[in-house]
């Protein structure tokens, strides 16, 4: 960078404080700046640490189930699914097929809801105010479907050990048909607004490029990793619930910049829509929950690692049980923690204006980081 040696310059520190509209939660970064360029950054997390892991050690498995929803409240079904799957694996409970399809379908609806928020909020961070409410409008459609079945709009408390809490009401099917018909056109609208917008491209193309191997070394997962060219998705590679029967091809892009991370999620919304359609068409009959599962299970001693593909990445639960009715060790492997840990390396040498697209494209949610 050309410098006039007669002018004295100095690096200064800017606090991107825990209260900031673009940090998606309480996240603090102390940026050391040289003019417009970031020299170094020091991320501070832990503002939203709610000691979920410690609380789980003091609660019955069924008591913690609604709390599991709140670990990552934008993808609450996935957190609950990991909790249920861990218990079901240790107790060797087989989930009936209808329940598997229902779980899969609602998880994909939840994924669409989360990606709609990402779409709206990412555009809002860059200054495009209009797409924000478009994303929320589509999210309302998914939340209506979820509310019909579970009674809740955000943290659903829908999964139970051995199945789901309730079957689909009759009003679900016409509403779902309408959603499936309308949604692809809406995604096309989103793509028309942003994908070729000059300002959007200037701010996201080539910004925050991440190499696939380096991302794997940092423990990245989810759409962030697939945007850097790593072709791995739990739904295809290690299928669980009904994904094995339905089949799924992940969205993999190659450039690894902010634009690709954004595009990966838009394309994943289309893929989720196709999955929901398949689920509804192939929904098997039968019970929605396995009979005779104890309400207060005493989980046999052992350990298990249950993984699901959440909208943020590879969400996992390492559960150690000593045979009691409460967990002995409840370790949450949350994808946003690892995704965010690379932020310091990503921000070295970028412009101040690039911080927001880089951070926004990671789709990190702070309760997932801090638990």
């Amino acid at each position: 960078m050309p410098t006039d040696t007669a002018i004295h310059t100095q690096e200064f520190q800017v606090n991107m404080g825990p209260q900031h509209p673009s940090t998606h939660g309480v996240f603090r970064m102390v940026l050391t700046m040289d003019g417009e360029r970031v020299v170094d950054s020091e991320p501070h997390v832990g503002f939203l640490h709610r000691s979920m892991e410690k609380m789980a050690e003091n609660r019955l498995y069924i008591q913690f189930l609604p709390m599991a929803d709140r670990i990552d409240y934008l993808s609450s079904l996935f957190c609950a699914a990991a909790h249920c799957e861990a218990v079901e694996q240790l107790m060797e409970i087989e989930v009936p097929p209808r329940a598997k399809y229902l779980r899969t379908m609602f998880m994909e609806l939840n994924r669409i809801a989360s990606h709609c928020i990402f779409f709206g909020v990412f555009a809002l961070d860059l200054g495009a105010v209009t797409p924000f409410l478009y994303g929320f409008r589509e999210r309302e459609l998914t939340m209506d479907l979820l509310e019909m079945t579970t009674g809740q709009r955000m943290t659903f408390n829908y999964l139970r050990f051995g199945g789901v809490a309730a079957d689909l009401p009759d009003s679900f099917f016409p509403a779902a048909e309408k959603f499936l018909k309308v949604f692809p056109g809406r995604i096309t609208d989103y793509e028309r607004i942003l994908n070729e917008n000059e300002i959007f491209l200037a701010r996201t193309k080539g910004v925050g490029v991440v190499d696939g191997a380096r991302a794997v070394n940092y423990g990245w997962s989810g759409p962030n990793l697939r945007a850097s060219g790593v072709d791995f998705d739990l739904r295809r590679n290690m299928p669980y619930e009904a994904y094995g029967e339905l089949g799924y091809e992940p969205v993999v892009l190659t450039r690894g910049d902010c634009y690709d991370r954004y595009l990966a999620r838009i394309l994943e919304m289309r893929a989720s829509h196709a999955l929901i359609k398949k689920c509804l068409e192939g929904l098997p009959d039968g019970p929605t929950v396995k009979e005779k599962v104890p309400k207060f299970p005493k989980v046999p001693a052992g350990e298990v690692y249950a993984r699901v593909e959440s909208p943020r990445g590879d969400y996992g639960l390492y559960l150690v049980s000593d045979g009691a009715d409460k967990p002995y060790r409840y370790k949450l492997r949350t994808p946003s923690f690892n995704n965010l840990s690379m932020i310091r390396e990503m921000l070295r040498g970028v412009y101040l204006a690039d911080i927001v697209p880089i951070f926004g494209s990671l789709d990190v949610i702070l309760p997932d980081v801090d638990r």
């Binding site: 997390v45 832990g46 640490h49 000691s51 892991e53 410690k54 694996q89 696939g212 191997a213 380096r214 794997v216 070394n217 940092y218 423990g219 060219g229 790593v230 072709d231 791995f232 295809r236 590679n237 290690m238 052992g302 350990e303 298990v304 690692y305 590879d314 996992g316 390492y318 150690v320 002995y328 060790r329 370790k331 492997r333 923690f337 690892n338 965010l340 840990s341 690379m342 390396e345 801090d370 638990r371």
Partner: protein, 170 residues
């Protein structure tokens, strides 16, 4: 990078033998486990095993999913758990190491797996295990000025008062 479905990974015994050849006689236990296979190694060897896992061409454990600890106060030990995953072979493997509950230490692997930077800080914060050679071993989740290590079984959360000098009635 395309990862083929269910390419074979090496069996556990063979991995243990390879570690024995490359790193030394550090494997204490080889266990298929009920659901996740694990190797128990000496606490002093976790860093050498990590470097071997990353660099050995046959193994390809490129993904360090998490580092955590499990507290066993009855046996007076903390078990460090490193959970590795190989994208190429789709193989999952835990490496466990026992350290004492107070003053436990292990070598940091933050320079081998970049994910370990924050993961080790979390284990230090919540369990009190120090990682030698870590670039910035400070608390990450608990607030500034917090004392104690919350996830230890004898941490009395009922007695914990946050910011005691700011509480009303003082």
């Amino acid at each position: 990078m395309r990862f083929g479905p269910h390419m074979a990974g090496l069996p556990l015994e063979q991995i243990a033998d390879k570690i024995k050849d490359a790193v030394g006689d550090v494997v204490v236990d080889v266990n298929e486990g009920d659901r996740v296979p694990f190797l128990r190694v000496e606490a002093g060897a976790v860093a050498r095993v990590a470097r071997f896992f990353r660099d050995d061409g046959e193994l390809a454990f490129d993904f360090l999913m998490y580092i955590t600890a499990v507290d066993f106060p009855d046996e007076d030990k903390l078990t460090l758990v490193y959970h590795y995953f190989s994208y190429r072979d789709e193989q999952s493997l835990m490496v466990k190491a026992d350290v004492p509950r107070r003053g436990g230490a292990a070598r940091s692997i933050a320079h081998i797996y970049a994910a370990a930077d924050w993961l080790e800080r979390e284990v230090y914060d919540l369990f009190g295990v120090t990682f030698e050679g870590h670039p910035n071993l400070t608390r990450i989740l608990t607030p500034e000025g917090f004392e104690g290590h919350p996830l230890l079984k004898d941490f009395a959360s009922e007695d914990y008062v946050p910011f005691p000098d700011k509480m009303p009635g003082k």
